[in-house]
Assembly symmetry: C2
Homo-oligomer: 221 residues x 2
Amino acid sequence: MPIKYGTNSSTKAAPAPTLRRLPTYHRLLQAMMEDGRLTVSCTVIAQALVLDATQVRKDLAATGIVGKPKVGYFVDELTRSIESFLGWDKLTPAVLAGAGNMGKALLGYDRLAEYGLHIVAAFDADPARIGSPAGKLEILSIDDLADHAERLHVQVGILAVPPGAAQTVANLMVLAGIRAIWNFTPVRLDVPATIVVENVDLTASLAVLSNRLANARAAAS
Amino acid sequence: MPIKYGTNSSTKAAPAPTLRRLPTYHRLLQAMMEDGRLTVSCTVIAQALVLDATQVRKDLAATGIVGKPKVGYFVDELTRSIESFLGWDKLTPAVLAGAGNMGKALLGYDRLAEYGLHIVAAFDADPARIGSPAGKLEILSIDDLADHAERLHVQVGILAVPPGAAQTVANLMVLAGIRAIWNFTPVRLDVPATIVVENVDLTASLAVLSNRLANARAAAS
DNA sequence: TAGATTGTTAATCGATTAACAATC
DNA sequence: TAGATTGTTAATCGATTAACAATC
C-alpha cells in the first residue's frame, strides 16, 4: 500500500456549511472532554446535535482527521484537528475600524482570542472617541489605520463603521495590505477578488427571523 | 382569464438565501429612490450587486410583486413590497436577555426599529447590572422576564447571555410564550419545533473567514 | 412594430442523505 | 468472530442558472 501524506493543515477549501458547523462540534467535544470522555463516534455527535451522522463524518474528514472503525475518534485528537484546521491554535492579529456599539462589543469580547483572533488596534473617525479607552486599547484616528496595519503586517480587518463609511474604510484596508475583512455592516463591499470578505449581516438574519415568525403565525391561525 | 388573487403578505415561506438577499435589494432601492429613479429592472439590480438577473427576479417575485415587461418594477412599489413581506412596516416588540457587550450594542442600535424590531425591555442576571440604564431602558432582573414578556404578549426574544446560561434562558422564554428567538450565543438551542430560532453565530462566521484566509494564503504562496 | 424585460419551465450545480464495502 | 463504525460512492434534494415563450 502506498504511503499517503495527509493534508492536515487548513490548506483545503471546505464548503461554508461544513465550516460553520465545525465550531459546534468543537463546543460539544470540549464538554465531553470535561466529562472525561476519551472517544466519540459520529452517531453520538449526530444525536447530540440533531444532525445526520454521514454529514458529521464528512465534516470531520474535512479537517484531515482519520477515525478508527468500531471506535470512532479520540476526543482530544479531534478537538485539536478542528482547532488546527480553523487556525484557532495560533493568534491572528486584526485591526478594528469603528468603535461604536458593535465595535466596542467586539473589543470587550475577550474570548475572541480562543478563536484565534487578537484585536491589536482600534480606529474611529469621531474626534470625540479618538484617544479614549476601549477595552485594553486606546482608540486611534482612522487616518492612522493604514500606517498601523501595514507596519504590523495585519491581515484581518474588522469593519464596524456606519454603513455610509463602509466602502471607504474597506478601500483603506485593502490599500494597507489587509487580506480578509470581517464585515459587520450591511453593505456589499466592492473589493478585489483576492480579498476574503465574510459578512455578519444582522439585517439579513432579521429578515429570516421575521419571515419565519410570520409564517409560523399564519400556520397556527 | 381567471382572476388571480396575489398573496402579497408574508404568509409564504421563502428560501433562507432569498430572505437574506432581500435587505440588500432594499438598501439599493433606497439609494435609487434618493437619486429620484422611478423604475428599475432585474438586470440593473443584478449588475449593481453582482448577482444573476434570474435570481433577482425570483427573489423579488417571492415578495409578491408583479413587474411590467419592458419596464421592470416601480422603485417605490418594490420597496414597499419588500418591507411588507419582511414585516418591516410594522413594529414587533422584543425582549432582550443579557445586557453584556453584545446586548448593549443591540440596545444602542436605534436603527433596529427601521427593521421592524423594538426592544421593549432588557434583562440580566448580574445584580451589578440590574437597575442601571442601558440605552433608553432600565435593566431588569432576569427573574422578571417571563412575567413581562407574557403580560406584554411579546413574541420575540433576543438571547445575548453567556453560553452557559443560554439554554436556561431560552427555556424561560419559551415558557413565557415567546415564539421566535434571535440567538446571539454559539449554543444550539433545544426548543420545541414550533419555536423559530435564528442564530447569529460569530464563531461560525469566524470559522469561514479563517479557513478562506488560510486558503488564499496557501494559493498565493 | 421591434425588442427589452418579465414569468416560468428545464438544466445544472452543490450539499445532504442513503447505501454499502472495508476494517478493526 | 460478529458487529459497530469508518470512508466512499451513489441517489436525492434544493438552490442557482439557463432557455424561452408571453407581453407591453
